[in-house]
């Protein structure tokens, strides 16, 4: 598990109570992890704090899966 995925899983677990083991790259936030649009805002804000990146409102809709979010965060951190 990459460090980013690990950190994101901890956030999703805190916001939605999803078991960490279930939070894998291919999972969809909405369909698999019970993250609705308001919970997604909380996940995004927690990611911004934890990883020191900015995730604009317009970008959030593109983050469909956990893998999408990890890729976005990794690329923003290396930018």
């Amino acid at each position: 598990m990459s460090q980013t995925l690990e950190g994101l899983a901890a956030i999703v677990n805190e916001v939605a109570g999803t078991p960490i083991a279930d939070i894998t790259a291919e999972k969809s936030f909405v369909d698999d992890l019970d993250i609705d649009s308001l919970s997604m805002v909380e996940v995004v804000m927690a990611c911004e704090d934890k990883f020191g990146v900015s995730i604009p409102d317009g970008e959030v809709k593109n983050l469909r899966t956990v893998g999408d979010a990890v890729a976005f965060i990794d690329s923003a951190m290396s930018a």
């Binding site: 609705d36 649009s37 308001l38 805002v41 909380e42 995004v44 804000m45 409102d57 959030v60």
Partner: protein, 335 residues
């Protein structure tokens, strides 16, 4: 040399003397609003924490509700209506554009010595009014101020808008603010972010509707839910901390937290972010009242007091935030 101007002696503080609430009789359940937005009771509860909301009768006006709430506040305060020097009515939903609601309310209540004005700060309106009332009383520009938050949002809801149809309710809350020998209302922290003007707004102007009646509908309220949620739980938590700091207290000194009843999810997120201790009573009036914009904080305050869970003199953190975007927060001593 020009003559020096004289000012009245300032007062050491102001406080809320009494509250009054008016909740319309008609209860609207989640099942009633769920149909047109293809939703369900469960989805609405999960999304907002709302179980039901109150809607005013068709012929019930913003002024009617304001008068009902204010009469209770005046009766409970023990002051005579003639002693009120200012009536401030916070509302954005009076369908009669002019004159002000405040002047009519003052007349009907017998507050014949009062100056009167309405103020438009949406869901922050009541906390704006309270901040103004505190300043008016402390500077001795007024002795007693009647502050009312009142909305008839049902007139401006689109039953088919999934983002708002289930959220809004109607009602009125009022307080009497008067002189105190110590500060009973802390400094108001207020501000605006007009760059988010579009986040909560009317769908169109009345002029647009007048000029294109065939192609448009009358204006209703529309909201960018995610943007507002982000702003509320991020920025408004900071404003809460500023209001506590300005009043010289911490969350441990609070007896109650009475935020604008925007959405239970926002309240929950703010409570977590503020790390409120267990003993702090959190107002959750939205459950059976819905989001009543300017009326929500005084209605929620009245409900907290009626619950008997908070003693008179306890400190409450109030915060209003909404369309503008605008916000105002202050710590108050409960009556």
């Amino acid at each position: 040399m020009t003559a020096a101007l004289r000012l009245p002696e300032p007062r050491p503080g102001s406080r809320i003397l009494a509250t009054g609430a008016y909740r319309p009789a008609r209860v609207l359940t989640n099942d009633e609003v769920a149909g047109p937005i293809d939703s369900s009771d469960e989805w609405i509860r999960e999304r907002s924490g709302i179980v039901e909301r109150r809607w005013a009768a068709t012929d019930e006006t913003v002024a009617d509700m304001a008068i009902a709430a204010a009469s209770k506040a005046i009766a409970s305060s023990g002051i005579a209506p003639e002693a009120i020097s200012m009536v401030l009515v916070a509302t954005i939903t009076d369908s009669l554009q002019l004159p002000s609601v405040a002047a009519l309310v003052a007349d009907r209540l017998g507050a014949k010595n009062a100056a009167c004005t309405d103020l438009a700060a949406a869901c922050a309106g009541f906390c704006y009014g309270l901040g103004l009332a505190d300043s008016l009383v402390r500077t001795a520009s007024a002795e007693y101020v009647l502050v009312i938050g009142v909305e008839k949002l049902s007139d401006f809801v689109s039953p088919t808008d999934r983002g708002t149809a289930f959220i809004f309710g109607d009602g009125a809350g009022a307080v009497i603010v008067g002189p105190s020998d110590h500060p009973g209302i802390g400094p108001t922290i207020w501000g605006a972010d007009g760059s988010q003007h579009d986040a909560i707004k009317a769908t169109r102007t009345w002029i647009d509707f007048r000029d294109n009646p065939a192609d448009t509908a009358p204006p209703t309220i529309t909201m960018q839910g995610q943007a507002v949620f982000r702003w509320a739980i991020g920025e408004m938590t900071k404003v809460c901390h500023q209001a506590l700091e300005a009043a010289g207290i911490t969350v441990d000194d609070l007896a109650a937290f009475i935020p604008h009843q925007a959405n239970m999810r926002i309240t929950d997120a703010m409570v977590r972010a503020l790390k409120l201790p267990e003993h702090v009573v959190v107002a959750r009036d939205i459950e059976y009242t819905g989001n009543t914009s300017a009326a929500s904080v005084p209605l929620a305050m009245d409900a907290v007091l009626a619950s008997g869970k908070v003693a008179s003199g306890g400190l409450a953190l109030l915060i209003g935030f909404g369309a503008g975007l605008v916000y105002a927060a202050q710590v108050v001593e409960l009556p």
